[in-house]
């Protein structure tokens, strides 16, 4: 991991990788969305509203996956003082918050025709809302620091402690009875018929690649801004 600790080496990999992730993600999303909207049958119980699954599930995965990545970066900053850990954690926070908000909004939109309500204060929805607030808190704490290429120790600890919420979100539908259905896709398999399930692979992978592209773009922007600041400081001192 420390092989990538040098920002110059990181940029030599990130620059060519960014457009591949962005364009690859957009193509996969387009295939998944077209298939999900026009080529899959409606669900026998949910009807047409099941099509929201193809954007809701990737958003949930990336909201939770984003914080997991942020927590790993926080751990790397605290334990190994990896020079890019703070940059990557900062870069993950905004797209992570975006996909958590999309997950909550699309879930709410799906809930109205399916459950008959926009919102229910159950374990899954409430823990996901807490995740959104954790992202807002992290962004505020990270922006409070004047140092752009890292985050404060307190912010990194906040990132680690917030990770406690991830298994709670994951297990919430098992621990508490709620309107939200139980886990449909597990390591053992899926309870969703393949006729409906297959476009989900495209959208999950596509949105994940776009998420990766956004993170790399944000990391590159942060590193470039830091270079400008460092140069301006040197010029002012000269």
């Amino acid at each position: 991991m420390h092989a990538f600790a040098n920002p110059t080496r990181f940029l030599s990999i990130a620059k060519p990788l960014t457009p591949w992730l962005a364009y690859g993600g957009i193509v996969l999303i387009a295939i998944g969305v077209a298939a999900g909207l026009f080529f899959t049958p409606p669900d026998y119980l949910q009807g047409e509203s099941v099509r929201i699954l193809y954007v809701h599930v990737p958003a949930a995965w990336l909201g939770m996956g984003g914080w997991t990545g942020l927590a790993i970066a926080s751990l790397m900053q605290i334990v190994w003082r990896h020079p890019l850990a703070g940059v990557s954690a900062r870069a993950i926070a905004v797209p992570g918050a975006l996909f958590t908000a999309i997950c909550l909004a699309t879930g709410s939109i799906w809930g109205r025709p399916t459950w008959g309500t926009w919102w229910e204060w159950d374990g899954r929805l409430t823990s996901m809302l807490i995740l959104l607030f954790l992202y807002f808190g992290y962004i505020a704490l990270a922006n409070a620091s004047e140092e752009r290429t890292t985050v404060s120790r307190a912010t990194a600890i906040f990132g680690l402690i917030g990770a406690v919420n991830i298994p709670i979100i994951n297990r919430s539908v098992v621990w508490w009875k709620s309107l939200h259905q139980g886990p449909s896709i597990t390591l053992k398999g899926s309870t969703i018929d393949m006729a409906i399930l297959w476009p989900l692979g495209f959208t999950v992978l596509g949105f994940s690649l776009v998420f990766g592209a956004i993170v790399l773009m944000r990391m590159r922007a942060i590193l470039a801004e830091a270079r400008v600041e460092a140069r301006m400081r040197r010029l002012a001192e000269a």
């Binding site: 047409e48 944000r218 922007a221």
Partner: protein, 43 residues
């Protein structure tokens, strides 16, 4: 109940939000890297 207005709203929100943040990240990156390259050339 017609489900399609709900489906369209969910997709517009997701694709619009993702596209918006992708564009914002790209513009910010391009602006920052252009500024950094200009400063390097001036040196």
């Amino acid at each position: 109940m017609n489900h399609w207005p709900f489906i369209i709203a969910a997709y517009v929100l997701t694709l619009g939000g993702t596209g918006g943040v992708l564009l914002w990240a790209w513009l910010a990156m391009r602006a920052a890297e252009t500024k950094s390259d200009e400063l390097r050339r001036k040196r």
